[in-house]
């Protein structure tokens, strides 16, 4: 027996108070009689002076004491032992994709580890005393509350009907910490997973019991998938699907690789191959697919495949995003030849007239006159083509120290080792330096233009920059940056948890309503802006982004995590809690509310009885 609200026992202080009132307070008027012995009551003999009296045991005293006692007990809310054992069970369910694997090694029992975990949870919940409550937390990159907190046990299992663990490898510690907080001081912690975490490696709460339902399983997985349109990104060059097939089991496996696409309302098989995969083999697979089919659903089927999730990828046919490049350098200039030679080695661009170009590469002296905001420009020196200026220009030796703004994407991979930078002039406009040497700015971004303009402060006739690997890298970065600045998705196929970024055109970017993302578990809203960022996509699916009724982007997200696909390391077992939690449990309110009501009725009854006794 214990009390949910021990402070309620303070009301027991009313008992001596009532007794004291009956003892010291002469509540009855004095009445002289001749023969007190005839009234058959206990007598109190009084003589002058203060002396102790015997407490008169009267019916009203008894009733009042009983009422106070019942009231005190009602406030203290006594609990039977069964009630005391009511517990708050907080369960962390491993949300990793491996939990969705089937037990191929268990003969006819093809239950998934998810189902085994639910069975284990069901048995645990059934053993809980009445009045217990359950909280279910799913681990993942972000812990999620699946049920509760403090939900009714009868509803706990049902809440997992739609639970589908698909998370990539993640740290379960945030989920453990959340569970620890939810459990408080009296709750019980249970971690249901498919492999036992190594002690000491993780900050597993000491009072958390771990139950692993996993077993080593064979598995085939597609760990990488890419759909490419030609070598140069042009549709007429055909399209190719590149896959990486991996046998993660201990034995060889035969699998059927199938690629289908939507053809109206029906699926059309585009590709079907039998592949043999030895144990641990990584098989790069490449196949040409027709251009313009839109999407591909690729699946790898085998009886040695325990996890279906990683054997299926969705691919969206990439849309070529060619950058229109115009080179306006004079035909006689050294720079034109060097620029043209480098561009020929780069994919993803197409020549264009200067008026329609996304990127214009021309003389630095002419750059300032251009004011098209969307157009990128690269001006190549000399900035001042006058003879005097050329004469005053400085040539830097190959031992010069170049300082690069490494954080700028334009300079990614650029090292400038052994570069002789010639024809450096003083710049007369506002700029942000990207490459400097001493006080001289070699590559700058102009600040006096609404468009993005870079100026290469160089005289290519006096420099060996175009002969170094930095030259095509610099131009490639420039084209890629220019491509990224154009509206649309840079990629259309992603892995789960990868951030998806794309730019909206000006019209869409200026809207006020939020964009709507559809696909996965449920639609969600996305902030609108020139650059839209979507992160935390954990469900493999086709996704579309809508601006009202207009689709502005479509991409696919696939599960590709070789660590999570490796099921041979799964281990079944249990690890008891290292630290015993407080077993005092807690009080469940609802089942015993009637006791409180009964106590209140008793108090009222006793009060009425007391009133009746005094009234007679």
């Amino acid at each position: 027996m214990s009390f949910a609200n021990p402070w309620g026992l303070m009301a027991l202080a009313a008992l001596p108070a009532i007794a004291a009132i009956h003892l010291f307070h002469r509540r009855y008027p004095r009445f002289e009689v001749s023969g007190l012995h005839l009234w058959g009551v206990a007598q109190m003999t009084h003589t002058p002076g203060r002396r102790r009296e015997r407490l008169p045991i009267t019916a009203t005293l008894i009733l009042e004491l009983l009422a106070a006692l019942v009231l005190a007990l009602a406030l203290a809310r006594p609990q039977a032992d069964a009630v005391n054992r009511s517990v708050h069970l907080v369960v962390v369910l491993d949300g990793s994709a491996s939990m969705s694997a089937r037990r191929l090694t268990a003969g006819g029992d093809l239950k998934t580890f998810r189902e085994l975990a639910i069975d284990e949870l069901d048995s645990r919940v059934r053993e809980l005393p009445s009045g217990s409550v359950v909280t279910l937390v799913e681990s993942g990159r972000r812990p999620a509350l699946l049920f509760g907190p403090r939900g009714h046990t009868a509803e706990a299992i049902g809440s997992l009907e739609r639970w589908s663990p698909q998370s990539v490898g993640h740290d379960a510690e945030p989920a453990w910490n959340l569970a620890d907080q939810l459990a408080g001081e009296t709750g019980q912690l249970l971690y249901l997973t498919d492999t036992l975490p190594e002690m000491g490696q993780f900050n597993l709460p000491g009072r958390m019991e771990v139950v692993s339902v996993g077993e080593p399983q064979p598995n085939l997985a597609i760990t990488a998938a890419r759909w490419m349109i030609g070598d140069g990104g042009l549709p007429d060059e055909g399209s190719t699907v590149h896959l990486r097939l991996v046998n993660l089991g201990a034995g060889s496996a035969t699998a059927t690789l199938t690629a289908t696409t939507r053809d109206g309302q029906q699926d059309r098989t585009v590709l079907e191959r039998q592949v043999e995969l030895a144990a641990g083999e990584v098989l790069p697979f490449e196949a040409e697919v027709p251009v313009g089919i839109g999407q591909l659903d690729v699946s790898l089927a085998s009886d040695r495949d325990a996890l279906e999730l990683d054997s299926h990828v969705r691919l969206i046919e990439p849309v070529p995003r060619l950058v229109r490049v115009a080179v306006t350098l004079s035909q006689e200039s050294v720079g034109r030849q060097q620029v043209g030679r480098a561009l020929l080695a780069l994919p993803g661009w197409t020549p264009s007239g200067a008026a329609d170009a996304d990127l214009v590469i021309g003389e630095a002296s002419a750059v300032a006159s251009k004011t098209e905001p969307q157009q990128w420009r690269l001006g190549i020196g000399p900035v001042d083509e006058s003879k005097a200026a050329r004469k005053q220009a400085v040539d830097l030796s190959d031992r010069s120290a170049y300082v690069l703004e490494k954080r700028h994407p334009l300079l990614e991979g650029v090292v400038l080792g052994g570069v002789i930078w010639g024809g450096v002039q003083e710049l007369e406009f506002d700029f942000t330096p990207l490459i400097t040497s001493g006080t001289r700015s070699l590559l700058v971004q102009r600040l006096d233009s609404p468009s993005t303009q870079f100026v290469l402060n160089i005289d290519l006739a006096r420099s060996n920059l175009t002969d170094t690997p930095d030259w095509p890298i610099l131009l490639s970065n420039l084209i890629e940056q220019c491509r990224d600045s154009r509206p649309g998705l840079r990629r259309v196929n992603y892995r789960v948890t990868e951030d998806v970024r794309f730019r909206l055109d000006e019209q869409s970017a200026e809207g006020e309503e939020l964009l709507r993302l559809e696909g996965g578990d449920r639609p969600r809203q996305v902030a609108r802006g020139r650059l839209v960022e979507i992160s935390g996509l954990a469900r493999p699916a086709y996704y579309t982004v809508h601006d009202d009724d207009r689709q502005v982007a479509r991409f696919a997200v696939n599960f590709q995590d070789i660590d999570e696909s490796t099921l041979v390391g799964l281990v079944a077992g249990e690890r008891p809690a290292v630290v015993d939690g407080d077993s005092a449990g807690f009080e469940a309110d609802s089942p015993y509310t009637w006791l409180i009501l009964l106590a209140i009725v008793m108090v009222i009854g006793l009060a009425l009885g007391d009133w009746q006794v005094l009234r007679r």
């Binding site: 509540r27 009855y28 008027p29 004095r30 009689v33 001749s34 023969g35 007190l36 007598q43 007679r616």
Partner: protein, 284 residues
């Protein structure tokens, strides 16, 4: 108390009831137990020297040649002892002490009227107990009812000086712890007549519901909190009746007469209904 209007009126209306056993005492209106000088012939016996020659029956001597002496019932004036309980309980209501005083005065007056020598003995803490003659009965008007000793205690320790062969009248409420058999036996001891008058207040005889009360015994000062409700009253009535039955039984065994009177009824009603009914008084 002889000046009390009710006492005078009652004394004019009633006289003491007939004694069943001749009592001893001086010559008077009442018949004694032995032969005496009254006019009521009792029997003959032979003359013995010393007999009053006035009582020789000469005719009988002529007829039988034997000196015969007429014997007459002795006429005596009765010795009347009136024991008046003056304890605090007799003053719990004013009417109770008043009727007790009146009864004592009435009995003394009636006894004195027939040549007896009434003595009123108020039962007090004083030792020896004071004895009030007929000429002192008037003192009862102011007599304080403050004694704490009960009649049973006084009788037990022999504090009450009782004369043998007296008419003994006891006026008390008998609402003190006692053994009726023992008490009555002591009171009736050597008495020619014992009349017991129990005086109760009307609430004592028939209590009404009062609710919660701290009952205080006026003599022992003992207290008790009690709900004076129907239930407790019923219990009280049962105990009172048991006490009265005990007194009645004891009196019957001692050939005594007991009567219970209610103080609030007034002296005349008490005399008419209760005392006459019990034979203690009769209409003159």
């Amino acid at each position: 108390m002889r000046s009390d209007a009710d006492v005078r009126r009652a004394a004019d209306t009633y006289q003491l009831g007939l004694l069943r056993v001749p009592a001893s005492g001086r010559a008077g209106d009442l018949l004694g137990r032995g032969t005496g000088s009254s006019l009521e012939f009792q029997e003959y016996r032979e003359y013995t020297p010393g007999d009053d020659i006035r009582h020789l029956d000469w005719a009988a001597y002529a007829r039988s040649d034997t000196l015969m002496v007429r014997l007459y019932r002795e006429e005596i004036s009765p010795r009347t002892e009136i024991l008046l309980d003056t304890s605090l309980s007799m003053n719990v209501v004013a009417a109770k002490s008043l009727i007790a005083r009146q009864l004592a005065g009435l009995f003394a007056t009636l006894a004195g009227g027939v040549g007896g020598s009434p003595v009123v003995i108020p039962l007090t803490e004083q030792r020896p107990l004071e004895r009030l003659g007929l000429d002192q009965v008037e003192r009862l008007v102011e007599w304080p009812f403050t004694a704490r000793s009960t009649l049973a205690e006084l009788m037990a320790d022999g504090s009450v000086p009782l004369k043998p062969r007296s008419i003994r009248i006891v006026i008390s409420d008998f609402l003190f712890p006692h053994d009726p058999e023992t008490l009555v036996k002591q009171l009736a001891s050597s008495a020619s007549t014992l009349w017991v008058v129990q005086v109760l207040g009307s609430w004592e005889a028939d209590p009404t519901v009062l609710g919660g009360r701290r009952l205080v015994d006026c003599e022992s000062a003992a207290e008790a909190d009690l709900l004076v409700n129907r239930s407790s009253i019923d219990d009280y009535i049962q105990r009172l009746h048991r006490l009265q039955r005990g007194l009645a039984t004891a009196c019957r065994r001692a050939e005594a007469t007991i009567v219970t009177v209610e103080a609030e009824s007034g002296l005349m009603q008490v005399c008419r209904d209760d005392l006459c009914g019990a034979g203690i008084l009769r209409v003159a």
